[in-house]
Amino acid sequence: MSERAAASAHQFDDAEQQHDASTLGMWVFLVTEIMFFAGMFTVYVAYRSLYPDGFAHASHHLDVLLGTINTTVLITSSLTMALAVHAAQLGRRRPLLIFLVLTMALGSTFLVIKGFEYAHKFREGLVPGPWFSYHGADAGAQQLFLSIYFAMTGVHAAHMVIGLGVLGTLVWQARRGRYGKSYYTPVELSGLYWHFVDIVWIFLFPLLYLIGRHT
């Protein structure tokens, strides 16, 4: 099967058909990912429209500075990922490895910062549930906001962790010289996935951190 780097698997006629099929498969997979997040975006939109003030107040619990830094980190990781794909396309193994490792480093940085944010919420008692320590009059709406915050960023972080695993595999395979000018489909497809995860954050950041901050 695809262990034979450039050759096509038995069900395909040639490498080009295989590449086309894999790319299409990845895009279709990303559509299912959009729909996976869609459920939570719907919950967000519905509750934001029902409790605009509670949501605006609750968003003040989030640290915009850390959020901004994380956005920058993730966008930079998208750049390095794009450069990794670029290096793979040109068959340059060393730059490919460097950019993959850089992407992983940036991805890990994102998760570490997110971890600090989560830890802070735990310390302040802002985790929804019986220990929720905020008891103001709009506590219900604020708890809804934080529930959505944890669900969305948690699922997003899980995607980041999976992405790091995928990138780790790529690094391992790239070191073994699996990818060259004529076969780099896995690098390209993992890139698509990584950018997708970046795009989700591009929406999460303003929705959770920014809207309502001026009030």
Partner: protein, 325 residues
């Protein structure tokens, strides 16, 4: 003859006849198409049954005229169903203004019912014949559904919200009341009866039973006991908005929006006061979540509804704009 094998439910409300008419229309249309398809299938299958293994009939690839016919005719018929069904649905959603108010609280696994005059009952609802009755309903736990087959009405009963349902019974008698939304172990035991009585009998029934304060009176007691009265006083320096004559009127909010002060609004304002702040007031009211039961809330609302301005006295809320009636 078939006392044990009924085919059709009793018709005991004004809307039942409308629903049944719609039902018969749909049965006729479906019956026509169902029989048409069945007859054609059987007729074609036997008329054109295979006579020889080597049969290879000429292909017929289709006919645009036929495709259009069997797209447009069903579409037209379904639009009749849509508009007819929608008109019945809209009248079910709009109780008449003079409807008798009854309050229902569902909980696992019983129906608790309160009449304005104070009489309470469980798993039974007594109503007069020939008078429209509006139920305002909520649940203490999970979703239930109030269903009276003989009246052809059903509405889910949700926690955290009021839903409503209305009917006008046409025949005295006792009818099934079911919970129609699965609600746990004793779901099928969450049943009861609706007893439809002649008006005079109903009046007698209302005043019977153990002596009880009317809902509004009970609400007033709560209103004082919870200290609502200290802020909602109605004088110039009051910290809370005036409640007299408020119900049904539009309210101007801090956010610039206008909402109608209905039961749901009053409920939210008691439990979650910060959600909608009335223009010109401070968001200082504490929440009464956990301090008032669902039944208590209903009493408070009944009391607030009963506050009507005497002549010349000022009323809460905005004046209803002309033409909004």
């Amino acid at each position: 003859m078939f006392s044990n094998l009924p085919f059709f439910p009793e018709q005991a409300s004004t809307v039942a006849q409308r629903v049944d008419a719609l039902y018969f229309f749909l049965i006729s249309v479906s019956g026509f198409f169902g029989i048409l398809i069945a007859v054609l299938l059987v007729y074609f299958a036997f008329k054109y049954r295979r006579r020889s293994e080597s049969d290879r009939p000429a292909a017929i690839h289709g006919s645009m005229a036929l495709e259009l016919t069997w797209t447009l005719i069903p579409f037209g018929l379904s639009m009749v169903m849509f508009f007819w069904g929608a008109s019945v649905y809209v009248s079910l959603a709009r109780p008449p203004d003079n409807a008798l108010q009854v309050f229902v609280v569902g909980k696992q696994w019983m129906w608790k019912i309160q009449h304005l005059e104070g009489r309470r009952e469980i798993n039974e609802l007594h109503v007069p014949v020939g008078r429209s009755v509006k139920l305002t309903m909520t649940s203490e736990d999970v979703i239930h559904s109030f269903y009276v087959p003989a009246f052809r009405v059903k509405a889910d009963v949700l926690p955290g919200r009021y839903t409503s349902l209305w009917f006008e019974a046409t025949k005295p008698g006792t009818y099934h009341l079911f919970c129609a939304e699965y609600c746990g172990t004793e779901h099928s035991g969450m049943i009861g009866h609706v007893v439809v009585m002649e008006p005079a009998e109903y009046q007698a029934w209302l005043s019977g039973g153990p002596p009880a304060a009317s809902l509004a009176t009970a609400g007033q007691a709560l209103f004082e006991q919870l200290g609502c009265i200290t802020c909602h006083r109605g004088d110039a320096g009051a910290r809370g908005p005036l409640l007299v004559g408020l119900v049904g009127k539009p309210v101007q909010l801090q956010s610039g929006e206008t909402v109608i002060a209905d039961e749901t609004y009053l409920r939210e304002s008691i439990l979650n006061p910060q959600a909608k702040i009335v223009a010109g007031f401070q968001p200082i009211m504490p929440t009464f979540k956990g301090l008032v039961s669902e039944e208590g809330l209903i009493q408070l609302i009944a009391y607030i509804k009963s506050l009507q301005p005497a002549d010349g006295e000022k009323a809460g809320g905005l004046p209803l704009a002309e033409g909004s009636h």
